[in-house]
């Protein structure tokens, strides 16, 4: 059997299995466990309706938790063992991390990323959303700015390698330096600032995301509150910061935290641009350095990242839920 056919057959089996499960379990619930008969009719229908959501959702919930919780527990367990997974070392991997200057650099850089990228992306997104709002060609501009969202991080990194290229005939930065008579340099080797050159790439990508969401939110602001502000004498800048932004604060927070979570997970950009050299390491790329070489260490890093993401995640979800209300 060709692999293609195999795939199709498996999909069919899976699908019919699901449908069969829903049908049979529903049948059992309605006809056998709580049959709507005679005097018990109303009560049994209500009971069946209480049970049904659980019945239908349980398999999915079980599978999801299995694939979410097991890796977390498994990773944590693995991080308590040595490199070869032969010896229990307790929290030694975590201790080693703390004493490793590479880890501290990564943590520090990651902190910078979390500080800069979400703020810059959200701000730029908001700016673009506002500026393009009433423009006839605003949608074209928005499409162009949204485009980078469709590019993979590695692809984006490759594009920006050209921007940062040392050869003045390729790299725009060195081309500019060349025209004013400065000798070429490698931006990615410039200590400290090279981090920001990498962040620019993610900001470039995430601005589109922020723009789309915030643009919709801006459109949702009741027009008459803005007109009332106009009559109250507010200038465009005051209307933006005192009437519009406060009204979409919830959405701004959701965008901000969503990008923060992305930032804590991104490793591709650093990996593709510098490989973590020149002090540009961040936690995910630091983790990748150890993966397959020292899984104990790598899983410890993974766990640290998870601990960092978790509170942001919870905050994000609670914000999003508030928005939906």
């Amino acid at each position: 059997m060709s692999p293609l056919l195999q795939g199709v057959v498996m999909i069919l089996i899976g699908l019919s299995g699901c449908i069969g499960y829903f049908y049979v379990s529903n049948f059992v619930l309605d006809k056998i466990i709580f049959p709507p008969k005679l005097d018990d009719q109303g009560r049994n229908i209500n009971r069946a309706n209480l049970v049904r959501p659980w019945l239908f959702l349980l398999p999915a919930l079980l599978l999801l938790s299995l694939y979410l919780i097991y890796p977390v527990v498994g990773s944590f367990y693995r991080s308590l063992f040595n490199r070869a997974n032969t010896e229990f070392v307790g929290l030694a991997n975590y201790g080693a991390l703390w004493n490793d200057s590479g880890f501290r650099t990564a943590l520090y850089n990651n902190f910078l990323w979390v500080l800069v990228v979400p703020a810059a992306s959200t701000f730029m997104g908001l700016l673009v959303a506002q500026l393009t709002d009433k423009l006839s060609w605003g949608n074209v501009a928005k499409s162009l700015i949204f485009m980078p969202m469709a590019i993979s991080f590695v692809g984006a990194s490759l594009i920006w390698r050209f921007v940062y290229a040392v050869d003045p005939n390729i790299g725009i930065i060195n081309a500019l330096r060349d025209t004013v008579g400065l000798s070429p340099m490698d931006p990615l080797q410039l200590p400290f600032w090279n981090n920001f050159f990498l962040m620019v790439i993610l900001v470039w990508i995430q601005t589109g995301f922020a723009m789309v969401i915030l643009s919709a939110a801006l459109r949702g602001i009741p027009e008459d509150t803005i007109e009332a502000a106009v009559i109250d004498g507010a200038k465009p800048r005051q209307i933006f910061f005192r009437i519009k932004v406060p009204q979409i604060k919830g959405t701004i927070m959701v965008v901000w935290t969503t990008i923060t979570i992305t930032v804590l997970k991104v490793f591709d950009i650093v990996y593709a641009m510098t490989g973590g050299n020149f002090k540009t390491e961040i936690l995910p790329s630091y983790m990748m350095d150890y993966m397959f070489r020292d899984d104990g260490r790598a899983t410890a890093v993974a766990f640290v990242i998870m601990i960092l993401v978790l509170p942001v995640m919870i905050w994000n979800i609670s914000n999003a839920r508030k928005e939906m209300r």
């Binding site: 009741p222 509150t225 007109e227 009332a228 106009v230 009559i231 109250d232 004498g233 005051q238 009204q247």
Partner: protein
């Protein structure tokens, strides 16, 4: 004098779609002018043009003798109350009311004094620190009104302020607006509504808008008693004025009109000999009908009666009325239970009979 003067004001969209044209209106300081008209007649657009939220396509708008066509809204000395209240949802009642003053960089103490005084006047003091979403519809509208009061504008603009309130609250808020007007007799107010009860009760003068222009301007009773044209005649008053075709057969200080079924009616509208033989529409308000004997002007069979308690609406089909035509409606006092299906004759006093030729009142033409 904080009057308003509109001269040949027009509004077109995209250069071709005409919404309003040739609006000429002189509003005196201290008047409460109500714009009424059917939906889509441009009454809100006209208000928004006065506010400065819509550009004036043509003509001149003067406030206080000063041309303000291109003056930004905030500098026109106006304040506006919106139908949807348009409160800033993220600000407390206090901040909502103080916003304009803060923008104008007034000193803090002064702002506080004004806001608290206004809140007290509108009974909003207990709610000053609440957000708009924690208020009822009526309270929200009071905040919106308060927000315009604190600015102490020369002209207040109300854009259907009561439309989003339920019936009982609407009456209460209407009275509150009337009181507000009384408290500041020198402030001009312009009020847009589609509700003729609001128009009749609040206005010092009503502007009826229709067909892109002004159909008539006048005090509420002028519009009711001497409508200039059929549109105003039928727009003011509920149920609408009845119109029936007839022919002038006698002229002079009183006009004698022959109706289609050969009956006659007298009107106090004066006519000249040239009007003899003119085909006209005779207009009679439902409440002006009185029961009469067979010599009455309108005879017919009662189709439906609607008892409202203090009055009964009687819909009846005049003998000559074509099938399917709107029945004539009369508003008779008291309960008239047993009229249905019977034959009735009605007439009206000459001073209550309006005469229209080609939509225009002969009363005005012959003045």
């Amino acid at each position: 004098m904080a009057g308003l003067k509109l001269t040949n004001v027009a509004k077109t969209y995209g250069g071709s779609v005409e919404v309003l044209k040739d609006i000429n209106l002189d509003i005196q300081q201290g008047e409460l002018i109500v714009f009424v008209g059917p939906s889509g007649c441009g009454k809100s657009t006209l208000l928004r043009m006065i506010a400065g939220l819509e550009k004036i396509s043509d003509g001149a708008l003067e406030i206080d003798g000063q041309l303000v066509n291109d003056v930004p809204p905030a500098q026109r000395g106006i304040a506006m109350v919106f139908q949807s209240y348009a409160l800033y949802p993220h600000m407390t009642v206090r901040d909502n009311m103080a916003f304009a003053l803060k923008i104008a960089k007034k000193p803090k103490d002064e702002i506080n004094t004004i806001v608290e005084k206004t809140a007290e006047m509108l009974q909003l003091t207990p709610y000053l620190d609440r957000l708009p979403k924690a208020l009822s519809g009526g309270q929200r509208q009071r905040v919106a009104i308060g927000r315009s009061i604190v600015r102490d504008p020369k002209v207040y603009l109300f854009d259907e302020p009561l439309s989003n309130l339920d019936a009982a609250l609407r009456v209460a808020t209407r009275i509150e607006i009337a009181r507000l007007k009384e408290r500041m007799p020198d402030r001009t107010m312009i009020y847009v509504t589609h509700d003729q009860v609001e128009a009749m009760t609040l206005a010092s003068r009503i502007v009826v808008l229709a067909n892109k222009g002004i159909a008539q301007v006048g005090t509420p009773l002028e519009l009711y008693e001497t409508p200039q044209n059929e549109f105003v005649a039928q727009f003011i008053g509920s149920p609408s004025m009845n119109l029936l075709r007839g022919e002038i057969i006698g002229t002079g200080a009183q006009t004698r009109i022959k109706l289609l079924d050969g009956r006659y009616i007298l009107s106090d509208v004066p006519t000249t000999e040239e009007d003899l033989g003119l085909t006209v529409n005779v207009g009679i308000r439902p409440e002006d009908f009185v029961l009469s004997d067979e010599n009455g002007a309108y005879c017919g069979t009662v189709d439906i009666t609607e008892a409202l308690g203090e009055v009964t609406l009687v819909y009846f089909k005049v003998d000559t009325l074509a099938d399917g035509a709107e029945p004539i409606v009369a508003k008779l006092p008291g309960v008239q239970k047993d009229l249905r299906g019977t034959r009735v004759c009605l007439t009206a006093a000459p001073e209550k009979v309006h005469v229209f030729h080609e939509g225009q009142s002969l009363l005005y033409r012959n003045r």
